[in-house]
Amino acid sequence: MSQPLALIIEDETDLGEIFSMALQAAGYETQQAFTGPDALTKLAGCAPDLVVLDLHLPGLDGGQVLKDIRRDARLRRTRVMLATADAAFARTLEKEADFVLLKPISFSQLRDLARRLKPNPPGEPGVGA
């Protein structure tokens, strides 16, 4: 296993790109999804270590996507980071999510956090192993 995988689910392409770059800078391999259904399709085909999830998504909202992830036994090791400007919505999902980041989220903030969440390479101690 070379690099951990991160899935960025964000309908704003610019923000998706910034998040991708931050995670890549943290040493992740990244994939992007732009709608709710798109995200579910992508999730069916892979098991990411980290999901950065926007809540207001076309097709299916982020809350539903989060519930799907939590129901899927295959994805039990996946960490979910909510990235939203809707604090009220985020608060209702606080228990199911691992982190809640309120927009705007700075590049360096996300990069540094993602670095700390990286699963340990074999033989190395780390966070959340």
């Binding site: 704003e12 923000l15 910034i18 998040f19 800078a25 009220a88």
Partner: protein
């Protein structure tokens, strides 16, 4: 701040009714006028009745006195006629017919004894009806007052005397022919019977006094026999001062009774006849008339007041009550209510005006409701627009910040000095813009009433630490000291929305740092009875007094001369005040120009106590 209460003072309902009731005022005024008028009329009528009745009574008294005098005169006259006849008789004739005088006595029972004397006092003839003669047996006739008086040619009437057989009499004497004298004893019993027969009214009485003031005839014979004298009494003096003793007046008589009396003179014997009636009788009619008048006046006044009250109720107070009820109903919002009910007077005009007012009010209310709805929907539209725009503004802002951050982190390669500087400025300005957008969003949410609250226990110390971490850096950048203080009396855990309290605190501290150029900014958390206080003070430039009044108004900026970078959108303090208010607290401020400002946020502690009890 704890609310101040004003206890209501209890007031007497009756006193208020007394003071405020129009009906009471009208009835009192009318009652006073009627009572005054009745008293005046009553007094007038009473006085008139009294005067005419008294005149009447005086006339009756005069009449009674005159009648009594006539009777007594006739009585005395009959005696005198007999005596005159005897006086005219020839001396020789008298000696030849000694039975003549006896015959005369029998014809006049009032005479007890009659004698004829010659000029020397020798008895020429005499007759008597008693057991024994009195006058003819006297040895001192020539020296007797009655003989001397009659001898001088005057009529003599003597004092009351009692004969040996207990008969009361008095001596009469008058001149006779040949310078002789006729004398007689007059039976008082006959006079008394006469006087006793002269009764009038219920309390009327007649009595006779002689020229010396001695009582010689009265209803009560004991008084006569007791030699009662009226000599020196005012009524007798008043009567004597008049011609023929014709006098009438009110006085207290010799018996101590209040009387109306009238007097007459019995000329031949110089007696005075009194005819008296007690005032209780003479005033009785007046008294009855007055009682009747008072009764009628009372009944009349009462009837008038009742009638007035009833009339006022139907004419004035019922319509007024309808108008009042109408006003109350309209005041309660029933603008359909109408009070007109066909009165044709001023009240009717008032009712019509009232109804027109209601109609106008209704129209105006409809217009106002329309305007209010329009304003509300405009306001809601504004709030929604603000919320949406703010939200949508943040997405591109996030992108701008993200890319600038990427550049700053030199992901795309190393930056030269000018590039780094520009990126820094992009980030700083974006941060400012973001703050403004956040303020707008908060304001919009507060106005729309859509602010979410998250009430949970939290530690003021944590809040203070976070404040120190975040705001301490900003203070340091300006070379200021950020001092924090937590009073030991403040509970360790409080209950509330930590995020909102923090928002308030950062807003105030941010302002303090912004407007302070040197010195310190101090944040203190203090307990204060049922509130707790977050107090932010600084050594900044202060706020002018005139600006202090409007410091919490939205979009108000203290000083237009501040640089653009210092100026916010003017919502910060307004939001602080609104948030504190929504939490049940308040904010106050004191400031001294050139020396600094102090903002104090008071938040209720009910939650604190509740949390304390559970920990």
């Amino acid at each position: 701040m704890p609310p101040t209460t004003h206890p209501l003072k209890p007031r007497s309902t009756w006193l208020r009714f007394w003071r405020q009731s129009l009906r009471v005022h009208v009835l009192i005024a009318l009652g006073s006028i009627v009572a005054l008028a009745t008293i005046m009329v009553g007094l007038g009528i009473g006085f008139f009745v009294y005067r005419s009745d008294q005149t009447n009574w005086q006339n009756r008294q005069r009449e009674a006195a005159r009648y009594a005098a006539l009777a007594v005169n006739e009585f005395v006259g009959r005696v005198q006629v007999s005596m005159t006849n005897v006086g005219l008789l020839d001396t020789a004739y008298l000696e030849q017919s000694p039975s003549l005088l006896f015959t005369l006595l029998r014809q006049n029972p009032a005479l007890l004894e009659i004698i004829r004397l010659d000029y020397q006092g020798q008895v020429l003839a005499g007759a008597y009806q008693d057991d024994a003669p009195v006058l003819s047996n006297l040895f001192t006739i020539p020296q007797s007052t009655w003989f001397v008086t009659a001898r001088r040619g005057q009529t003599y009437a003597g004092q009351v005397q009692i004969s040996a057989n207990q008969k009361p009499y008095l001596i009469l004497a008058q001149p006779a022919a040949d310078h002789g004298v006729v004398a007689a004893r007059l039976s008082l019993e006959a006079l008394w019977r006469l006087v006793d027969g002269l009764r009038f009214g219920e309390t009327g009485q007649v009595y006779v006094v002689d020229s010396r003031g001695s009582l010689i005839a009265a209803e009560d014979q004991e008084l006569v026999l007791g030699h009662t004298s009226l000599d020196g009494r005012a009524e007798l003096q008043a009567a004597s001062a008049q011609r023929d003793h014709r006098w009438t007046g009110e006085y207290v008589n010799f018996q101590g009774r209040q009387v109306l009396g009238s007097t007459q003179l019995i000329e031949p014997v110089q007696w005075t006849v009194f005819a008296e009636t007690q005032l209780t009788e003479t005033l009785a009619a007046t008294r009855r008339a007055l009682l009747l008048l008072v009764g009628i006046a009372l009944i009349f006044s009462l009837a008038l007041l009742l009638a007035t009250n009833s009339a006022m109720r139907s004419i004035l107070f019922n319509p007024l009550a309808q108008l009042r009820d109408g006003a109350v109903r309209i005041g309660q919002g029933d603008l359909e209510h109408r009070v007109s009910s066909g009165w044709n007077n001023e009240l009717g005009q008032l009712a019509t005006a009232f109804d027109e007012m209601s109609a106008n009010l209704k129209e105006r209310e409809a217009a106002l409701a329309q305007a209010r709805d329009a304003a509300q929907s405009a306001s809601q539209f504004k709030s929604r627009l603000l919320a949406n725009v703010s939200h949508d503004l943040r997405t591109p802002l996030s992108a701008i910040m993200g890319y600038a951050d990427i550049l700053k982190e030199e992901v795309y390669g190393e930056l030269n000095e000018r590039q780094r500087n520009s990126v820094q400025r992009i980030l700083a300005n974006t941060q400012r813009l973001l703050e403004l957008v956040n303020s707008l969003l908060d304001q919009a949410q507060i106005e729309a009433g859509r602010l979410d609250w998250e009430i949970a226990p939290f530690k003021p110390a944590d809040l203070m630490t976070e404040l120190q971490n975040v705001m301490g850096v900003l203070a340091q950048q300006k070379g200021l000291q950020l001092i924090t203080y937590i009073d030991p009396g403040l509970p360790v855990i409080v209950h509330g929305d930590q995020r909102r309290v923090y928002q308030i605190a950062t807003n105030l501290v941010g302002n303090a740092i912004k407007f302070t150029d040197r010195g310190w900014v101090r944040v203190a958390m203090l307990p204060d009875s049922s509130y707790w206080i977050i107090r932010v003070s600084d050594t900044g430039r202060g706020i002018p007094p005139e600006a202090l009044k409007h410091i919490f108004d939205p979009f108000n900026l203290v000083d237009n001369s501040t640089t653009r970078s210092e100026r916010g959108v003017g919502l910060g303090l307004s939001i602080v005040q609104q948030l504190a208010g929504l939490m049940g607290g308040c904010v106050d401020v004191t400031s001294e120009l050139g020396h600094g400002s102090t903002f104090s946020v008071h938040l209720p502690v009910e939650h604190i106590r509740a949390v304390e009890e559970h920990t």
